[in-house]
């Protein structure tokens, strides 16, 4: 196997692992907050439905977290196995947040174990809720620290490279790089948003399948409200990311927006296809790109003509950008419509066709997450560490990457199918109506 092949397969394997891991990681970051919100509302309103909601979500969460943990271990090791040259350099400069991530994860794991095994153990429910706070914090901070590493890959700083030697290393400056705030905030709020819409999908699906229990209605209303708020936050942080890109990674922004020539009053190109270097069937939003890049409709935005040919990312990332933004904005509008309509008691929200749209929301949000990460990673090419190290120079020289690719593809297939089968069984065997009935018997009459 030549080194070109090793680079190729290393890229495919990393892409596969990340694409699979990110599904579970996103849920893993978002669901603890959702559980916390539900349990908090339940305690505050003394409403057993919300408590039960939190409890059932927690049960399902264990399965996804297990897959998240093992695939996270896989990507953690694969970084060193597939990109040893990159990790050697990264280890010197950006190891701190990586190291802190393991602590955050450790913290989360310990308290998750405690939380899961102490339902009803405390007289005072609030004490039990307290145990969830470290889980949610640990989960979110895992995302924060890992995203810091990814941000560093986009905007490396905190060291000087003199004759191939790293000097003047400052780990804190590397951590707090300019890409960090927008990236961290966007990753974390999209994780919350996606988790909310995934849980909303489940509630909508149960309602579609004939259950008319108020439990599912409460679940749907709660998750749609939360989803709406985080989708608004997602749009805002996405806009900030545009401003960051314009200043620090203009080639990424220009490639994603098909902005070929530097110009003022730059329009934003939505959709369309690229035919022989010409954009066709696109919608041009006048001044859109200037606003996105500089919050000023007349300002100049750098185009691809300013960069050397071999430092421009692949132009297909525009489709990924479109996909991500369309889904994100679409979900924002659908959830806003739903929340407003429920408040107004409009009946169309109870129709089957509208509920099918809500069911689609969860998978679509996941797709948007994938598109966003592909955009972020492919948009950084040809660099693994922007301006410092090219992807092809970072890869392993080992000759067995192709076999490992097959091995891991098999693993992810097993894990993916396994987790879905287990989750379905778990909730089928113990439907919520049954559980509410059981709890009523247990507690006596004072149950909803």
């Amino acid at each position: 196997m030549g080194n070109e092949e090793a680079v190729f397969y290393s890229r495919i394997l990393t892409e596969l692992t990340l694409s699979f891991h990110i599904l579970y990681a996103t849920i893993g970051v978002g669901i603890p907050l959702m559980i916390m919100i539900a349990q908090w509302v339940g305690i505050k309103k003394n409403d057993e439905h919300y408590i039960l909601l939190a409890r059932r979500w927690a049960r399902g969460f264990v399965i996804t977290v297990a897959v998240g943990v093992v695939t996270g271990t896989a990507i953690g090791l694969q970084l060193s196995l597939l990109w040893p040259n990159f990790m050697e350099l990264a280890g010197n400069v950006i190891a701190l947040p990586l190291f802190m991530e393991t602590f955050a994860f450790f913290f989360e794991a310990i308290f998750l174990g405690i939380y899961l095994y102490t339902w009803d153990r405390f007289e005072n429910q609030k004490k039990h809720l307290l145990l969830l706070i470290p889980v949610a914090i640990g989960a979110s901070f895992s995302a924060v620290f890992i995203t810091m590493v990814n941000a560093f890959m986009n905007a490396p700083q905190g060291f000087d490279l003199v004759n191939g030697e790293l000097i003047n290393i400052n780990p804190l400056i590397a951590m707090f790089n300019p890409a960090m705030p927008t990236k961290v905030a966007h990753v974390v709020v999209t994780a919350y948003m996606t988790s909310a819409f995934v849980l909303a999908s489940i509630a909508a699906f149960r309602l579609l399948k004939g259950s008319n229990h108020v439990y599912h209605k409460k679940a749907l209303f709660l998750t749609m409200k939360v989803g709406l708020i985080f989708s608004i936050a997602t749009a805002i942080t996405g806009d900030f990311s545009g401003k960051y890109l314009a200043e620090y990674q203009p080639e990424k922004l220009a490639a994603a927006e098909w902005h070929f020539e530097t110009e003022e009053n730059a329009p934003l190109i939505m959709y369309g296809i690229l035919d022989d270097g010409e954009v066709k069937y696109a919608i041009k939003v006048p001044y859109g790109l200037s606003i996105l890049a500089h919050s000023n409709p007349f300002e100049e935005v750098k185009g691809l003509n300013e960069f050397p040919e071999d430092e421009i990312p692949p132009l297909y990332i525009h489709y990924l950008f479109d996909l991500m933004v369309t889904i994100g904005v679409g979900l924002m509008f659908i959830s806003a419509l739903y929340v407003y309509a429920v408040g107004r008691k409009w009946s169309f929200v109870e129709t089957n066709w509208f509920r099918w749209i809500l069911v689609a929301g969860g998978p679509l949000a996941m797709l948007a997450i994938e598109a966003g990460w592909w955009l972020a990673e492919v948009g950084r090419q040809p660099w693994v560490l922007r301006g410092i190290m090219r992807t092809e120079d970072a890869a392993t020289t080992s000759g067995q990457v192709d076999i490992m690719l097959v091995l891991f593809a098999g693993l992810y297939l097993i894990l993916g199918v396994g987790s879905v089968v287990v989750l379905r069984r778990m909730f089928k065997k113990n439907p919520v109506e049954q559980e509410i009935e059981d709890r009523r018997k247990e507690k006596g009459g004072d149950f909803l």
């Binding site: 907050l33 919100i37 539900a38 908090w40 509302v41 505050k44 309103k45 300019p178 705030p181 927008t182 961290v184 905030a185 966007h186 974390v188 709020v189 919350y192 108020v214 209605k217 409460k218 209303f221 709660l222 409200k225 939360v226 708020i229 985080f230 608004i232 936050a233 805002i236 942080t237 900030f240 401003k243 960051y244 200043e247 500089h294 919050s295 429920v342 408040g343 008691k345």
Partner: protein
């Protein structure tokens, strides 16, 4: 201004959205009246 949007505003939005999410979660009037 751009610096503010790039460095501080993202965290303000993040924390703000969490707080608003908690607040809005308790507003479940429409789900109660129906019962």
């Amino acid at each position: 201004m751009t610096d503010f949007l790039m460095f501080y505003a993202p965290f303000i939005v993040l924390i703000g959205s969490i707080i608003v999410a908690f607040w809005s979660a308790t507003k479940d009037g429409p789900m109660r009246n129906k019962k």
